[in-house]
């Protein structure tokens, strides 16, 4: 079961105009840098992107926005990015904002074969508009549907040739959820190992969810908010 492809260009070769893509990461942490670079190079457009954030002006999904490859963003928090704001205000870009936990759980629902979930997030707010509200044990919940995504692009720390993945620290975030939710899931990893080298108890994403895997290169792993304590 060898799912290894040569690199990002090969991994994304069937991503075409107009498809829906999930991209893992929170802020710039744990984003699929290599896949994004390949999409920018390929110039594929009219994309719907499901991602918690939309990058910054010169990194992450911001690079795709700069090239106007994105038709619609489905996110929980955006706009750390001037070009994003410009396109949004000019009407070039559509944005659908959904609560972060709803975003995560709708990915989980897809990966777990559940067509919809109930969440209290957004009850009594504009997020609830047009949605079914249902009460359980005296509390109101919104019915939220599982996502459909043609491709999921995720970034892991380690992976094996079968597509088993292990994430590092908070770079895990949405990655394992989106890995489960793509019709085709593409994983880029910092360290690719032969099958049998990962601890079977420590794998976060079983390879059954992953269709292609490659060892990424030149990770920048940019820090968005560098906060430190002074050394004495």
């Amino acid at each position: 079961m060898n799912k290894v492809v040569a690199g990002a260009d090969e991994a994304i070769k069937d991503i075409t105009d107009g498809v829906t893509i999930m991209l893992g990461g929170f802020g710039l942490c744990g984003i699929p840098e290599n896949c994004i670079a390949a999409l920018v190079k390929k110039g594929v457009g009219n994309l719907t992107c499901i991602s918690n954030n939309a990058g910054v002006d010169d990194f992450g999904i911001g690079l795709m926005l700069k090239q106007k490859q994105v038709k619609k963003m489905i996110s929980s928090y955006v706009g750390e990015n001037a070009e994003f704001e410009r396109q949004l205000l000019s009407g070039e870009l559509q944005v659908e904002l959904i609560p972060q936990g709803t975003l995560a759980t709708r990915c989980l629902a897809t990966g777990y074969g559940m067509p919809a979930i109930f969440t209290p997030a957004g009850v009594g707010t504009e997020v609830a508009e047009g949605k079914e509200v249902r009460q359980f044990n005296g509390k109101d919940y919104l019915l939220e549907l599982a996502f459909e995504a043609d491709f999921a692009l995720v970034k892991a720390w380690k992976g094996d040739t079968q597509g088993n993945l292990i994430y590092k620290e908070t770079a895990r975030n949405f990655n394992p959820l989106m890995a489960m939710a793509g019709k085709v899931t593409i994983a880029e990893v910092e360290i690719l190992v032969p099958e049998g080298e990962l601890d079977p108890d420590a794998v976060h994403t079983p390879g059954i969810y992953v269709h292609r895997i490659f060892q990424g290169t030149d990770y920048e792993k940019r820090i968005e908010q560098r906060t430190v304590r002074k050394r004495n």
Binding site: F26, Y77, G79, P99, Q100, A104, P120, T125, A171
Partner: protein
């Protein structure tokens, strides 16, 4: 209104310090961005409190020492952080799962407006660029205990404690307590109940600056600010 302007209002640090007195041994706590983040600086040294960061961490430690920043280790405000012994990472579905399941004992967050029914608005100003709700809607809809840290009035001097929010809601009927620069108030079925006032701030000033229903019963003690609470950060 200027005649009522208090010069004794709490600083942001003092608001955070006052909120830290709501912590209890063994609490799991989620702190929002802004003043809430400062609460971490006032956790008593001998108290076991675990900080949750909703991007996927229990056991958030202080900022790293210069040069120790790890790009894979950030909090929900996207700041570089550290772990503590016993920290654990998880994905965002589990993170909001434990929030929805009521496992987080206390959530502290900021607000633009709070109504006397406990509604909160803190994500959107019509006409302005909307950045999104992030995890705020999940947190306010699920937390058992929500304390809002906020200024009592906006820069124009208008009350942010209202009969009804004018801004789009983040959540309805969820806020339990407010610690502002002027006062500590519980949200009750009958409105805001004044519990404590900032040193030197009169009940009259708080009344004047609270547009929502305000309940004042008996003597209102001053918020204790002088005592230095031990910090572990």
């Amino acid at each position: 209104m200027a005649g009522l302007q208090s010069i004794m209002a709490l600083t942001k640090e003092q608001i955070a310090k006052r909120i830290s007195r709501e912590l209890k041994e063994g609490y799991y706590v989620n702190l929002g961005i802004g003043i809430p983040t400062l609460v971490a600086n006032y956790i008593p040294e001998d108290m076991n409190v675990v900080l949750q960061s909703e991007n996927g961490l229990l056991g958030m430690g202080p900022f790293p020492l210069e040069g120790d920043e790890d790009p894979d280790l950030i909090n929900a405000g996207k700041q570089t952080i550290t772990t503590v012994p016993g920290s654990v990472f998880f994905d965002s579905a589990m993170s909001f799962g434990m929030i929805r399941a009521g496992k987080v004992d206390l959530t502290v967050l900021g607000a633009m407006e709070v109504s006397d029914k406990g509604d909160i608005a803190n994500w959107k100003i019509p006409g302005k660029m909307v950045k999104g709700m992030g995890g705020a809607m999940d947190l306010v809809a699920s937390a058992k205990n929500i304390i809002v840290a906020m200024m009592h009035t906006n820069p124009k001097g208008e009350s942010k404690l209202l009969p009804a929010c004018t801004l789009p809601l983040t959540g309805a009927g969820c806020v339990k307590k407010i610690v502002s620069d002027l006062a500590v108030l519980d949200v009750t079925p009958d409105g805001f109940k004044l519990l404590e006032r900032a040193p030197g701030v009169s009940v009259e000033e708080i009344k004047a600056k609270t547009a929502g229903r305000l309940i004042v019963e008996g003597d209102i003690p001053e918020i204790e600010v002088k005592k230095e609470v031990g910090s572990r950060r």
